[in-house]
């Protein structure tokens, strides 16, 4: 399971993963790349709001919040690591 590709929406809070692909329009891909989400980057899913609210993630020292529709388009490969400091409790 550790190496399967899943979408960011399907990650657990606190879980870490490497970005695999972003499947969206060119505008979205460019915006996400410029904000720090590009293939090969390690991201940590930090927290998510109730009722399908935005997901907050960490890339390096950057914290980004994105809606589920965008999270659905970001595909990642979890590598079995979790960050105890950044779980959502």
């Amino acid at each position: 399971m550790a190496n399967a590709v899943i979408s960011l929406s399907n990650m657990r809070d606190g879980q870490q993963a490497l970005v695999s692909t972003v499947e969206g329009g060119r505008g979205l891909v460019e915006k996400l790349t410029a904000m720090g989400i590009r293939p090969g980057k390690r991201i940590t899913r930090f927290c998510s709001m109730y009722l399908h609210g935005p997901i907050t993630i960490r890339v390096d020292n950057v914290q980004l919040s994105l809606g589920r529709g965008i999270a659905d388009k970001i595909f990642v490969i979890p590598d079995g690591l979790t960050d105890e400091d950044t779980s959502c409790r």
Binding site: E30, M49, D60, L64, L66, G67
Partner: protein, 569 residues
């Protein structure tokens, strides 16, 4: 010489700008609003230079208004100071590499240098300088550290004009630079960071958001009241009253002049709210009644903006805002609207879709009272008991929710998803916060006082020649029949077009009951925007959308007013 500041959102450009120029711009802590750029002056190597703060962008290729503005501005600069956030070196260098391809001298300000060290990031400045081929100066804009050296180094800026590279080439070059010039040591979360994290976690975040909302409301209301009671009112009564009383006596023989300058007397006494003269009401309403709340509101708003809390609020409230066809970011213009609707309308520009902007603007115009109007509501309605003020706010919140849900269904178009960066909390220097507050307070005085000074005598004149009496009889069926107000209250609705606070003040002499005050307050908020808001809405949404928005306001304002009149309040 023209010096441009360029950098990613949150790199600290605007604070650096005020450090370099010594003057302050309203630099809001969320991306997008810097689109109207600021410019100032500084001295470099004994020469005068213009400094221009460009909008924060992640890349020169960025689509959208900010990217366009940034690209345009770069073309006519002489030197670029590229502000790079040292805690996000890798990402921020992308823009740096793009800038290095332009034919313009560049110097890098490696900002937020102190935080980078605290979180275990070590940057070899000499190595970075070597690899980029331009000077790099570590700075801490918020404390002023390194600014002097940056200014001295500006003449050393170097033009690289590197050959144009592809995206992949730039990222691989950044990989090399980071590998050589940056060392990161792992370290655990500090207590402060854990507290900061709590504000985006669902449960603690929601509780904190509610507590902040209550604290802000209490501070604005009670702080404003305290300034009014202990400063504004005593100053007017002790210092100004003797002067205007003397003028009143002097002009007693010239009734027309007395009516214009002083207004009506009550038992031979001046009443600052009800006399309605140029030297009485026209000055007392803006300076004594409204100004205290303007000060407390913008102080609280400045704190929320500068610490960086607002984007977190946008995340917390995103799910709710989607029910109204907007994403969470729309809460920020809405909050601005409680100060003044005009900047709020401009701030909706950060929202991406037409649908979202139309809904946000319409809801602000209908259900968000500006500080001037709120000050008078608190003053006039609050006398009858706080529960009546609560009824007004509860009604407006309900209206906001219901119209929001309807508009979400009725307006065609799409609602984009939220995508924002949450910058770390930071403390702004007090001096900068106070300057920003002063700029906003001054803005209120410059805009509100002249309109009051012009409007008060005109309204007075219209009364004297009987214009309002004519309108009064014509509109009586609606005003009295439907809303249950004395027919003279229609004058307030007209005046609200110019100044909302003046309109409320006009109600003061009518001796309205608490219920009538509730009805008239709600109608004034909902019915029609003031002329300044109307002009901005026209510019931002076009006349077709504006007519629809106005239709919604008139219908819902009348309906809610009539409904409140029927309820036993």
């Amino acid at each position: 010489m023209k010096i441009l500041l360029a950098g990613n959102p949150g790199a600290g450009k605007s604070v650096l700008f005020s450090r370099l120029t010594g003057s302050l711009v309203t630099s809001d802590n969320f991306p997008g609003t810097a689109i109207g750029f600021s410019s100032g002056h500084m001295r470099v190597a004994n020469q005068n230079a213009d400094v221009i703060d460009t909008p924060g962008v992640y890349s020169l290729g960025s689509s959208g208004q900010a990217g366009e503005v940034a690209r345009k501005m770069l073309r006519d600069g002489d030197i670029i100071v590229n502000v790079v956030n040292a805690t996000n070196l890798e990402r921020d260098l992308y823009l740096t590499l793009e800038l290095l391809e332009e034919r313009i001298p560049i110097i890098v300000a490696l900002n937020v240098w102190d935080d980078a060290r605290h979180i275990g990031i070590e940057i070899d400045v000499a190595e970075l300088e070597q690899m980029l081929g331009v000077p790099v100066v570590p700075t801490v804009a918020t404390t002023g550290e390194g600014i002097k050296y940056l200014v001295e180094s500006i003449p050393r800026a170097v033009m690289r004009a590197n050959p144009a590279a592809t995206r992949e080439e730039r990222w691989s070059r950044i990989g090399e630079i980071i590998g050589q010039a940056q060392k990161v040591t792992h370290r655990h979360h500090t207590l402060g960071e854990s507290l900061a994290d709590a504000t985006v976690r669902p449960l603690p975040g929601t509780i904190i958001a509610l507590l902040i909302a209550i604290a802000v409301f209490a501070f604005v209301v009670y702080g404003g009241e305290a300034i009014y009671k202990f400063i504004a009112q005593p100053v007017f009564n002790a210092l100004w009253l003797p002067i205007v009383s003397a003028i009143s006596n002097l002009t007693a023989g010239v009734p027309f002049l007395h009516d214009i300058l002083i207004g009506r007397l009550f038992d031979g006494q001046i009443d600052f709210v009800e006399s309605w003269g140029l030297l009485t009401t026209a000055l007392y309403v803006p300076f004594a009644l409204v100004l205290p709340y303007i000060i407390t509101f913008y102080f609280a708003l400045g704190l929320l903006e500068d610490t960086g809390y607002l984007p977190r609020l946008a995340v917390m409230i995103d799910t709710i805002m989607h029910r109204f066809g907007m994403h969470g970011y729309a809460i920020i213009p809405t909050i601005l609207g409680f100060g003044c609707n005009v900047p709020a309308m401009l701030a909706t520009r950060v929202l991406e879709s037409r649908k979202e902007r139309f809904i946000a603007m319409t809801l602000i115009a209908i259900a968000v009272p500006c500080a001037s109007l709120q000050a008078l509501i608190l003053g006039l309605v609050g006398q009858h008991g706080f529960q009546y003020v609560a009824i007004i706010y509860a009604t407006l919140l309900t209206v906001w929710i219901i119209i929001g849900i309807i508009l979400n269904r009725a307006v065609k178009g799409f609602t984009p998803e939220l995508l924002i960066e949450i910058h770390p909390y930071r403390l702004m220097p007090w001096k900068l916060m106070m300057e920003k507050l002063w700029i906003r307070v001054r803005g209120f005085i410059i805009e509100a006082v002249p309109i009051m000074v012009i409007a008060v005598p005109i309204i007075n004149l219209l009364y004297l020649i009987g214009v309002f009496q004519a309108i009064t009889d014509f509109t009586a069926p609606v005003v009295s029949g439907l809303l249950g107000l004395p027919k003279e209250a229609v004058a307030a609705i007209f005046v609200a077009f110019f100044r909302m606070d003046a309109a409320m003040a006009l109600l003061a002499p009518l001796e309205l009951s608490a219920k009538q005050l509730v009805v008239s307050s709600v109608v004034l908020v909902m019915f029609f925007p003031c002329i300044a808001t109307l002009m901005i809405m026209l510019r931002e949404m076009g006349w077709k959308s504006l007519l629809i928005a106005l239709g919604i306001m008139l219908c819902s304002g009348l309906a809610v007013g009539a409904l409140l009149n029927l309820l036993p309040i």
